[in-house]
Amino acid sequence: MKDRNVNSYDLKQAQQILSALAPAAVTVARKKAAIQAQAAFLKFPQRPMQALSGSVSVACPTTAAGQAEQLAPPETIRTWDDCIRWCLEATRSHAAFVVDSQGFIIASQGLIPEAGFECTGAEMICSLEQLERIDPEAGKLLWIDLDYGQRRIAGLVTPSNTAEYFIVGLVSPDSFRFFAHKALITSKILENLPHID
């Protein structure tokens, strides 16, 4: 837990840059500070701004050739396998899976991590209740987005009036495609939820 009695300013990086900017600083120190600073940040894709603007909408991202990449959702989604296949392709995830409200993985595709993944579903379900406590007035949790050092796991939590709900999970999705299609994935799954078996 954070010690609230001490201040929370981390100025090491700022001071490193300041040292590098000092007139007397040697080139090596400058490069070192730049590399260290760089390593701490997300590497933002250097795409044209027009393409980037698509990442905040449901519009399809463009391919390298500039053609609009078609993300055609199925008319109706009948099974969880169909659902995660579509999600997997749309987001270029390493894997996709579905967890039921008991924590069991009821469907999965792709490169499922070998060690301990069967517990991931149960851990996600256990965590849901606690995560919702962070902001109880904000409504039900709709997406969980866990950004670990080695991989990222994102999951759509399907809302339910009954006790039964599901998490549609994605392992290491491509960030650009994930954000581009997130709204579409959400709406399509929620729309088809009553029909999915």
Binding site: Y9, L11, L21, P23
Partner: protein, 271 residues
């Protein structure tokens, strides 16, 4: 040659415009020919001094070739101080303005055209580290970073420094950090004191001069004046900017800038 100083901060409300305006006034009051350029699409300098947002032509008119540089550089009643306002920019055209300023050489052309006329050119940049700020840094000799004595501002200082470092390494090797200027300081408040204590102890390059938080800035803003121009007793805050101007000049001199201090002077008679 001019010394071009960009006032830069990633955080909004950090006092960039107040610093730019009052520093420019203090430099001009010390008989240094000074130009204040407003590249902020919001037009902070115009808001600080003019009656309306559309009163003055400026950079925007240069960009669309509706006016020449000479027509939009505005002399003031303070000898030595001129202002190049943002211009009569429609808020709906801000994105186009940013794009045009970034992709054209207008700012460089302006600086080239006026370089011989002013010792100091102060550029007031918008909040954030977008393309206008990057553009300003790429044509500047020095950057001055106002640091609001608030927790968020202290946390955000790394962002600004990182961009500054990047511009210096990739775009403008002649860019120097002049220093970090603490503003809105209230040492009587625990948080403000703690921030200053942390900044002073953890960061090199924090200027000796700092600007306190004071009601006089709101009064000056209300009247559309720099603090030094308020009626009555000369405000201590204006004196702070005089001290800041001296510190800035000293730093620029030590960094190899042209301050005129090395010029030969004739002998003078006192009595």
């Amino acid at each position: 040659m001019s010394n071009v100083i960009s006032i830069v901060s990633s955080k909004g409300g950090a006092g960039k415009t107040t610093v730019a305006l009052n520093l420019a006034v203090a430099l001009a009051e010390s008989r240094e020919p000074t130009l204040l350029i407003d590249v902020d699409p919001l037009g902070g300098i115009g808001f600080s001094l003019a009656r309306s947002d559309t009163e003055w032509k400026g950079l925007a008119e240069c960009l669309v070739q509706e006016a020449a540089i000479g027509e939009v550089v505005m002399p003031t009643k303070l000898p030595g101080l001129s202002i190049l306002p943002r211009g009569r920019l429609d808020p709906l055209d801000v994105a186009a303005y940013e794009q045009a300023l970034h992709s054209s050489s207008v700012l460089e052309d302006v600086l080239a055209a006026v370089a011989g006329d002013y010792r100091y050119i102060i550029i007031d940049t918008p909040s954030g580290l977008g393309q206008i700020t990057r553009m300003a840094l790429s044509v500047s000799d020095f950057a001055l970073l106002p640091l609001q004595a608030e927790p968020m501002a202290l946390r955000a200082i790394t962002q600004t420094l990182r961009v500054l470092q990047h511009v210096r390494e990739e775009e403008n090797p002649d860019l120097h950090l002049l220093g970090i200027l603490a503003v809105m300081v209230e040492l009587s408040r625990d948080v403000s004191f703690s921030i200053m204590n942390t900044a002073w102890s953890s960061l090199s390059g924090v200027l000796e001069t700092y600007i306190p938080r004071a009601e006089v800035f709101s009064m000056a803003s209300e009247k559309g004046l720099p603090v030094a121009f308020l009626p009555g007793k000369y405000p201590p805050e204006a004196a702070r900017f005089d001290i800041l101007a001296n510190e800035v000049k000293g730093l620029i001199h030590s960094l190899g800038g042209e301050t005129g201090d090395d010029h030969e002077r004739p002998q003078r008679e006192l009595v």
